[in-house]
Each structure stands twice: as C-alpha cells, then as structure tokens.
C-alpha cells in the first residue's frame, strides 16, 4: 500500500489507515484533533472481518474449485490437438503472402517455410476428438473434456503472454485469476492457503511471481508457492531450540502486539499480517500431512505416475487433488518446458511423457471421487506455435493467432470440441475464443458475471476481463 492507495481503492473512510495519515502525510496537531473526533464518532473502529472467510458467489455456480494446469512455454497445437493435413502437404513451401500481412513473429522471419505436423493423429471416444499419438492417456478422457481449438491471444512473448493468461493484461501488476477468485469466494480451508502454486519442469514461468500476484487487491489473496517435495515450503520446521510450546507462545505475543498496533493505526494490512502468521503456524502441521504422498494407495500413485519424494508434475497433480479435497480454492500447476524453438520432436515427446498421464489421471481421479462436478480443470499454455519452421527443420516459433486449450468439470460441457483454425493452423476461422472470453467463462462457472465483478482502483472499477470478454456459452453445460 502506498500513500494514495486508499483513495484509489475508494475505501470506506473507516478503513483509511491512520498510520498513513499520521506518518506519511505530515499532518500535525489538526490531525490529532481529527483523530479525537473520529474516535468519538466511532469511525476509528478497526474493521476486523476475516478477508478469507468463505463467501457465496452472487450467481448460481457450477464450479467451486479450480485447477489450472499451466503448460508454460506454449505447447504446439499443431503437434497435439489441431491436425492439419494441408500443412503436411505444403511442408517446405512458403506460406501465402496474404497470411503474413501485419504478422509479427518473436524470432523468425515470418516468411519461412511451412513445417508439417510431426506426429500422427487419430479420432477417439464417442466425441471423435482428434488427438495426437503423443497423448495416449488423454485419449481416454476425450469424452470428459471440452477442447477449444480456437484460442487467440495478443502477446507473442512468454512473460506478457503468461501475464495476459493469468491477469488479463500484458502489463505487470494486475491481480491474477487465482487472486480474483479467492477475493470473490474466500477460503474453505482453515489450515491451507486459498491459492496455491506449484512449479515443475526446467524453471519457473517467465512471468515470475506476478503470474500469481494480488496486484491491487489486498495482498492476502496472493498465491502461495509450494515445492513439489521435501519441505513443501521452506522453513516449515521450527528452528533448533524452539519447540511447539515456545513457537505458540511467540506467535501469541506477535498476534496480540500486532492487534494492539492495529487498534492504534487502523491499518487493514496488519490484519493480513496477522492472518499470514497464523496461517504459517497452522501450515507447520497441515502442510507436511498434505504433502505426504506415501499414505496414498499404490494404485493411485501408479495412476498418476507419482513417486513420493521425487519432485514431478505427476506428484503436483496428485497434490492438487489432495488440496481440492481439503478445500483449497485455486491450485495452479506450472510446467515450464514447452518452448520448442528447436528439437521439437524430441522435446515435446519428453513433455508429453512428463504430463499426459498425470493430467489424465487427475481428471479421472476427480471424477471417481465425485469432485469433478465442482472442480474446473483447465489445461493450456500462453499461446501456440508457428506453422512455419524455425531453426532448420525441427522447431516452431511463438504464435498468438491460434492455439488449443481444454477444460473439464465444473460446469463444462463434456465430450465436445469447439472452434477451428484455417488449413494451416495459422488463424482462427470459427468460434474465436480470446483469453478475455476464457476468463469471462471461468468466472461465470464460478458464479460471477464478469462485468459486475469489479474492484475499484485508481478511480475506476477494474475487472479481470478489463473492458472485453464474452462468455463462451458453447462449452458451458
């Protein structure tokens, strides 16, 4: 919070921080008099509601929880879901010039030769969804998911693309989807954070912690990053010489002194601090229990391909299910490895091997536990890959004009495919779904009309979808 934030947020005068008033704005004796007046009128009372208390959404909701499988780095739609025989036919030729008008690529000269799909496709399930041979497990759940082959985005580089997908804008500093959802619905778990983030693969996402930031929303809605193995978060254990009793005594004193300070300054951010410390204490016992996969039956571990103690995307998927069972509102799994500018054939195989089985197991497992109905599962990256080749004969550049995502559960119509890209997989020609439209749809499933779900900041009402977005009714059950 800084000096003007209270005004920008349009906060109730009761909530305006007196700490800010006294300490930052250099007001003198007049302010003291005002403080007395406020105290007499009862306006200086500190509001102490729990910002994470579970809330009902304004509209009927299908989904209560969200698991976002974020395939960071951007997987190739052309190798996984969007089969283009024409692209195979024109392999090695230049794309039609009219296609490239105004097109910008991140690295390649757009006028590069076309590259045919590298893998075989077949139709699966009742729905007849076309899926690549790279995803043998996924073919078992095609009738449970809705595939959207007509995604478009505005960004063609990773950080802005990931920020757009997560926060609705390419600029740093806006609240992430998980923060919005937590702000709107609160937390159903007393002992775990409402919004948890995992990261597997080669590195974290390019957008960094802004991908799960709270932006201008109160910081209590920020995503909390867990590690896939060992101590789920760093410094979870008490340090040497401190036992449970001493830790509790210490936290009691911290809490009561923070409360005293909040009584004096009225700073609402102190409430967040108190919450953080209490949650930290509860996590010291809840997190190790949650993370202990050794208690899961062997057939469940096998289903995911998870191995206790060995960090993997599979472990994270299983942990995501365990979190949803415990009431965690929004779980986001980043797997950063999909940026195949070169070595496409080899590397995309590795990625699919690392993720296909676990994604499939997650949907199946949620379904058999009756959790899929209320849990929205989203799979996708920040953009697609170019139909044109990069780096010789085995790579693709970033491509924002067309890519594929899939969704399951939480009010999604199962067993359908919507949208279509053109013959080369270059542009969307049917049922275009912009990232804003996806956001509007996710919010609808959670019980929010996206144009009404706002937060006032810098003098205007902000939305996750900002000034765009319309609900994709076709994928809603």
């Amino acid at each position: 919070m800084n000096c003007q934030d209270n005004f920008w947020r349009g906060q109730d005068p009761k909530q305006i921080s007196r700490r800010w008033f006294f300490e930052q704005c250099g007001v003198g004796v007049g302010a003291m008099a005002l403080a007395n007046l406020l105290a007499e009128s009862g306006l200086a009372d500190t509001p102490k509601g729990d910002p994470l208390a579970p809330k009902k959404p304004p509209l009927p909701a299908k989904a209560k929880n969200v698991i976002f499988l974020f395939m960071a780095g951007a997987p190739s739609h052309l190798e996984l879901f969007d089969y283009k025989p024409q692209l195979a036919k024109f392999n090695g030729t230049l794309p039609p010039p009219e296609l490239l008008k105004g097109y910008r690529a991140a690295f390649i000269n757009p006028n590069s030769t076309l590259l045919g799909p590298k893998f075989k496709f077949e139709k699966y399930g009742q729905s007849g969804a076309e899926v690549s041979e790279l995803l043998p497990h996924f073919t078992k759940i095609v009738d449970d998911v809705a595939i959207v082959k007509s995604m478009v985005t505005d960004a063609f580089n990773h950080a802005p693309g990931q920020l757009l997908m997560n926060t609705g804008t390419q600029i740093f500093g806006r609240p992430s989807m998980g923060a919005w959802v937590t702000y709107g619905l609160g937390n159903e778990s007393k002992d775990l954070p409402a919004f948890v983030v995992f990261s597997s693969g080669k590195k974290g996402p390019s957008g960094g912690n802004s991908c799960w930031g709270s932006g201008f929303l109160p910081t209590v809605y920020q995503g909390v990053q867990f590690r896939g193995s060992g101590d789920p978060v760093l410094y979870l254990s008490n340090p040497p010489g401190i036992d449970a009793d001493v830790q509790r005594d210490s936290l009691d004193t911290i809490r009561s002194m923070n409360e005293m300070r909040q009584g004096v300054t009225g700073d609402p951010e102190i409430a967040t601090r108190i919450n953080s410390y209490e949650m930290a204490y509860r996590m010291q016992s809840s997190a190790p229990e949650l993370m202990d996969l050794s208690k899961e039956p062997q057939h469940v571990l096998d289903m995911y391909g998870a191995e206790p103690g060995k960090p993997s995307f599979a472990n994270d998927c299983l942990l995501a299910r365990r979190m949803v069972e415990r009431g965690v509102r929004f779980v986001q799994l980043y797997h950063e490895a999909w940026d195949q500018h070169e070595n496409l054939t080899k590397d995309i195989k590795v990625n699919c091997k690392d993720t296909d089985q676990a994604c499939t197991a997650l949907v199946q497992d949620l379904k058999q536990r009756g959790l899929l109905e209320s849990t929205l599962v989203i799979w996708g990256g920040e953009f697609g890959r170019t139909p044109m080749v990069q780096g010789g004969s085995d790579g693709r550049d970033h491509h924002p004009n067309a890519f594929t995502m899939w969704l399951a559960g939480g009010g999604i119509k199962p067993g359908i495919t919507i949208g279509e890209s053109d013959e080369l997989g270059f542009n969307v020609i049917n049922d275009k779904v912009h990232v804003h439209d996806l956001h509007a749809t996710i919010l609808k499933l959670l019980g929010f009309e996206h144009t009404h779900f706002t937060y006032k900041f810098q003098g205007r009402n902000f939305r996750l979808t900002d000034v765009a977005g319309s609900v994709v009714d076709k994928i809603c059950a």
Binding site: G204, S206, G208, L234, P240, V246, N258, A280
Partner: protein
C-alpha cells in the same frame, strides 16, 4: 535450496555476512528467500514490484537461519548493553526494532513473555544453549548474573520483536 534445480551454497566466514546484493542471481530464478519477498525475475523488465504478505514470508522471518542469527544477536546485545532492568532492556530492544518506545501494554506483553520463557528454559527439559548459542557446544560468555535460560528467553523475545508487523513494514 530453491524451487528449481539450482543450489546456493552457504558462504563461510566473513563472506557469509556480505550484503544480498552479492548473492548470485540466475536470470530466471531469483534467490529463494528474496523470491519469497517479491523480488522480480531477472528476465523481464519490472517497473513496479508486486507486494505481498504471505505465510511463506512469516515462516521465513520466523524460522530461517539468518532470522535466528539476527534474533540471537539482538538478544546478546540487549543483555550486554540494554540496561539493567528487564523494563530498560525491553525498551532498548524494542526501540532498535521500531524506533519508538513501547507503551505500557506492549511492555507488559513482552515482559510477560520473557518471564514465561525463562521458566520454560530453566525447567531442564530444554537446552537453552540450543537456542541462545550459535554452537551449543561453545556458548558465549554470559554477562555477570545472567543464566543460560535468560539468554534463551531474550532470544525468544527478540525474535518476536523482529517479527512484528511494525518492524517488517515500512509505510
């Protein structure tokens, strides 16, 4: 330890106390502790840092080795230089943390904690040096009249003061 496959090794000797400015930074992977406190990634421009307040920060400020060393250092400084009575010492340490004197309620809360922990660490079930000394086998010399339990209790109280919202937050 980090969220990715990178390891930072703990420096030895005086190197250990160099500023974080000299900590090695991978472009796409900030140092984990700094990451917890909102340091941005190095691979894209950042015009304004995200600010957060998470349980992970609380765990770091409470339990991380550097935090413990800091608490210990404040405890020893307070015992040696902070005056003779508990009240004087509480005021001394509190002022070092938040630049003001504690009011009567705050002072009472901290003194109560000090007494309680002194009893706990004097009960023989806990080793006070495990908390109050860097190396429990080689504890530092106590100021005259002080007990190991007192040193442990001051470490607890110092740790609490260093974890107050007012200490952590600069508005």
């Amino acid at each position: 330890m980090s969220y990715g496959p990178k390891t930072w090794y703990e420096s030895k000797g005086p190197e250990r106390y160099r500023r974080a400015l000299y900590t090695f930074r991978y472009r796409s992977l900030p140092y984990p502790m700094l990451d917890t406190f909102d340091t941005p990634n190095g691979d894209s421009a950042c015009v304004r840092r995200a600010r957060s307040d998470t349980p992970l920060q609380a765990l770091t400020a409470l339990n991380e080795p550097l935090s413990m060393e800091t608490a210990r250092a404040l405890a020893w400084k307070t015992m040696r230089e902070g005056g003779r009575t508990d009240a004087e010492r509480v005021t001394y340490a509190f002022r070092r943390c938040v630049s003001r004197k504690p009011d009567t309620k705050e002072e009472a809360a901290l003194e109560a904690l000090l007494k309680k922990e002194e009893l706990r660490y004097a009960d023989g079930k806990r080793d006070p040096w495990a908390l109050a000394a860097e190396d429990p086998a080689k504890p530092p010399a106590l100021p005259s009249g002080a007990t190991p339990a007192e040193a442990a209790a001051w470490t607890v109280v110092s740790r609490v003061m260093l974890n107050l919202d007012e200490t952590i937050t600069k508005q």
